[in-house]
Structures are given as C-alpha cells and as structure tokens.
Symmetry: C2
Subunit: 305 residues, 2 copies
DNA sequence: GTTTTTCTTTGACTAAAGTCAAAGAAATAT
DNA sequence: ATATTTCTTTGACTTTAGTCAAAGAAAAAC
C-alpha cells in the first residue's frame, strides 16, 4: 500500500552489501576448507536435517540439478561422509544420512565458524555485543515478517485444513479440558458468501491462518487465528487480523466479534491492543471466557494526522 | 579481554545464516543476470569508482589474479562496457573507466536490486520499515567497530604521519583561526620512553589515531585524538582513549590531562562522558580553551558491581 | 647506467559448477 | 493393464573461476 521510501531502500541495500562482503563471504570461505563449496554446503544440509533426507528434498532445498546432486552424493559417500539407502515408503527415492565421520566434519566446521564469530565479537564490549545481538534479532524478525504473505485460500484447501489441524492440536495441549476438533468451523462456513479463510505463507510453507464467518447481517466473526510456533513473536497475528478485518470491511460488515479461552491471555492483550473492546457473551461456546468486538470503517487511532 | 558468550555467538551465526540465505544470495543472483558473476562484480566496481581506476587498484580491491583480471577486462572492453587507457603518470599501469553503455548496465542492475529491496520492504508498515532500518544501521555500526583494531605504532611510521596530516587538515578547516601543522607533536615525543602513538585500522586502512606524551612525573598528556570522517559515530574515539589510558596506566602514570579547542564541543562532551573533569589551564596553548584531567587506576564508575 | 622491481599480457593449465538428455526403475493415474 | 509421471543415475558436454609461469615494458632503486 504505502510506497517504500528511497532512503529505506538505500539503507537496506547498503547494509546488504556491507554484510555480505564483510561476513557472508568469510563464512562461506571457512565452510569449504578442504572441500568444494557445493559439497560442503550439501554435507552441511544433510547433517543439519536430523537423520535421513531424501535426495528430492535436498534438490528442492538447495536448488540443484539432479545429475549434479547425484554425483556430489556419490563422492561424499565414497569419502565415507554419508550413507545412502532406499526410502522405506517409496523405493524411487533415496534417503541419505550422515555417518559419524560426516557429523564430525560438520561439527568441526561449526567450531571453526564459531571461533571466527567469537573473534569478531571479541572487538566489542559486552554491552555492545548485547546491542548487536538485539539489533540482529530485530532485523531478522522484521525480514522474516516482510517475507511472509497472507493469502486468501479456499476453506477446503489442504493448507487450510493443515493449519486448522495444527491449531486444534495446539489448543488441545493448552486447554486444561482439551479441545475437540469437531468445534472447528466447517470448510463451507468460510467459503464463498458465508466467509473467508486466510493462510500466511513463509517461503512456501503455511505458518498461520485465520477465518472470517458471517454471524448476522452486518456482523462478522473472526475465528481460529493461529500462528505456527516457529513464526510467533513476529507480529504475524496482527497481519492476519488486518487481513480479516479488511475482508470484513470489503464485504460491508461494520462489526467483527470474537471469543477467546481464559488461558489465552496474550491473545486477549493483542485484541485489546488492536482496538477490540470486551463485550458481554454473544455465544455460549464451551471454550469461550471472553468476548470482544471491534467497529470497522473508522480509521485507526494511530493513523497519521 | 572478556570472553564471548556462546549465546552471542549463536545469535550472530543464526542471523548470518539467515541473512546470507535470504538476502545475500538473491542480490548476487540478480546482479549477474546475463553475465558471469565475476564480470558483473568487476563492472560494478569499475562503474562505482568514479572515472578511472587502475587495474592494480581493482586487483587489490577484488583480490583477483592478474591474469584473470586482464582477461575479464578484455572481454568487457570487447563488449563495449569499458574503456582502457594508459595511466598518465605511470605507463606501466592501465586505467579503466566505464563507457556510457557500461554505466547504463550498472544503472539497470541497481534499478533491479532496488526494486527487489523495495518489494521486500513492501511487506512491512512504515513503522516497521523504520525499525528495520534502525536495526540494520546499529548492526552495521557495531560490526564495523568490531572490525577495527587499535595498534601501537612508531611515531615515525607513515600511517602515523598520514593520520596527523589528516588531523591537521581537519582542524585547519574547523578552527576559525586555522591550524598550523607545526603545532603537532614531534615523532620523538611519542616514541620510546617519551610517549606512545596509536593508530586504528579498518580493513588495513588507518582510520584514526591518538598520542600519549609524558608531561611531568606521574602525569601524561593525551593529544591528537582523531577519527576519519567516514569512521565517526562508531564509538572509535572511546576505543582510542581506552587504549591511551591503558598505555598510560601501564607506564605507571596516575593522571592524564588534555586540552581542547572551543569549537570541539562533541569532543568535550565525550571526555566528560569518559570520566574526565574540567580543570584550570595547565598550558597556554593558543588553541586550547578547555582543560581536562582524569585520574587513572580507579575502576570506572560503570564497572559491574 | 645497470639491476631490480612493478605491472600487465599471454599461454597453458586445472578444478569446480552446472546443464541437458537418455535411460531404467518404481509409483500413480486412467 | 497400460500409460504416464516421478526420481535417480549416467554420459557427454559447457561455462566459470581460478592458478602459474614466462615474457615484455616501464619505473624505481642502487
């Protein structure tokens, strides 16, 4: 929506250039050592992904040509760094896992890279290190957030159902009384005129969702706002909420409501921070302990004057 | 001195990995386009350094083999991207400069990279963009600072004299009455028993200096603390001051003094922040308007309890 | 006024990185 | 049951990246 200022772009690019030149290159250089970079990266990826990855996965992750990968795998195997086996489910696939020697080499690489980083940080006082760590965490958080897209999908879509399953499992673990999957909205309730379903994607993987459903004329209900554990604390829930509210406004709804469970205190705080106010119960939903409402259309309080 | 915590190293490396994977790779990939990466980088470097660089400079900056560089230059020239000429002063050297076509190509690359960055930042609100820009600026500042080393050099060393020359030119421009180079300390005053001279290096280039000189028994004087304009606001002056104070303490001095000019208000603020207190004039130096002193040996006030 | 050093070019390489297509084996779709 | 698709391997390449040494020309050192 808002145009990006040239200053922001310039600052971003300047950091980009500086960082890759100063740090990125160094890391890559040390990663290699006695081994072609491609092989080193491959071994690192294999050792990094627990026990057993399929060649197909590796191909996707590293974006390699099938033939090229096959050959590199062969040389790593010949050197005793990895073990190859046929995939138990699908015998077209090969599964590859690191041997003890392979793991040891990656460990050694990590040790070296750590020493390098340590040497660099040595030049800073503990306070400055803390400042650097914080700045990097902030930058990483915002870069991740910038890369996440929120898309409207059909309620029947596999990604939508996968998110809802994860959401249900999450709640089942957090609610003292558990959570029953049958309480999820049906796919038809969030499709077409009845409602909408949004999925957040990070690098192709679904990492969050949210549903909107028509409650009564002019009033919508927001349900199942969920963020993958690994994508939390990025500000993604707000993005989902924004998307749902925009959708509601586009449908001519003037009010959105929602309910939450007593244990979800962070969620309650977020709703309040986003302009929701607590209202009396509008459902007798078993899990609901708090009910919120927000009037749409009015510009947000923090809009520029 | 202080050991680096594993947490800091881990956070650093995590950011490192994330950033190079997410951003660095992208940028490199787009930089290339229809041209080998090496050539693209070379053209970028040539176009970026105003009009006319010697091959020798390029070789140093990009760390390339002479033969390899020569060949790449030849192909770029054949494509009409650059122009080669003999260096006016030294006819062993070749000077290379971009043609209009070369400049246009680099412009186009920049436009593309800018569009990429812009597209990425689009996913953030203006507030978040500002936050990201600030975090990156902080990270870059600290990374630069971490890479700068402060080394003791002989007062006669070329780097020392180069810094003092730049310092004198700097003061000459800032003092209303100008500054005369003959007021610099002599090399012998900051060598051996008489004193010490420190130079700060960033990637091999001197970017700051500071001198210590014996004033009277037990008392030292700090002089000529200077930081290159492009290395300011990093906290480097404090690092230099620390080094000078440590050297003074190691020599058994208990007090260090210094004087400053009336116009150098930031310097005065820094000295105060570093534990210096204003004292009566101890010299009748023409440029001096404020005199400071610090007692050494006592732990700093901000030391952990 | 030599000798030595510096700088570039050229030839002759090597290793790494990557591409493309054919082919065989296994799973899926029809 | 047959056709189609998916996945890996292999052979046969090409391009990039990079190294090393020899040689010629000019500058700097002695």
């Amino acid at each position: 929506m808002e145009p990006v200022s040239t200053d922001d772009v310039t600052a971003f690019r300047r950091f980009n250039r500086y960082f890759t030149r100063r740090i990125g290159v160094l890391d890559d250089h040390y990663l290699g050592q006695d081994r072609p970079l491609g092989e080193a990266r491959l071994l690192f990826e294999i050792a990094g992904s627990g026990s057993g990855v399929s060649l197909r996965d590796l191909r996707g992750r590293l974006g390699l040509d099938a033939g090229y990968l096959s050959r590199m795998v062969k040389t790593l195997q010949a050197q005793g760094m990895i073990r190859l086996s046929v995939h138990p489910q699908d015998s077209r696939l090969r599964t590859v896992e690191p041997t003890a020697a392979g793991r040891a080499e990656v460990e050694e690489q990590n040790r070296r890279a750590g020493a390098l980083a340590s040497g660099l940080l040595q030049g800073l006082t503990p306070d400055q290190r803390r400042e650097l760590t914080e700045a990097m965490a902030t930058a990483q958080r915002l870069l991740r957030l910038a890369g996440i897209t929120v898309e409207r999908v059909n309620g029947h879509a596999p990604d939508a159902r996968a998110c809802l399953d994860a959401y249900a499992a999450d709640l089942d673990a957090r609610f003292p009384e558990g959570f029953d999957k049958s309480d999820l909205v049906g796919a038809h309730e969030v499709s077409g005129d009845a409602g909408a379903f949004f999925v957040a994607y990070e690098e192709g993987r679904p990492v969050g969702c949210g549903a909107l459903r028509r409650l009564e004329p002019g009033v919508g209900e927001i349900k199942h706002v969920w963020v993958h554990p690994e994508a939390r604390r990025l500000g993604l829930a707000r993005r989902l909420l924004d998307a749902l509210e925009a959708e509601a406004a586009a449908r001519g709804l003037t009010v959105v409501r929602l309910d939450t469970h007593a244990v979800l205190t962070e969620a309650q705080a977020m709703y309040e921070a986003c302009g929701y106010t607590e209202i009396p119960a509008y459902t007798d939903h078993v899990y609901a302990a708090h009910w919120f409402e927000k009037r749409l259309g009015a510009p947000a309080a923090d809009a520029p004057a």
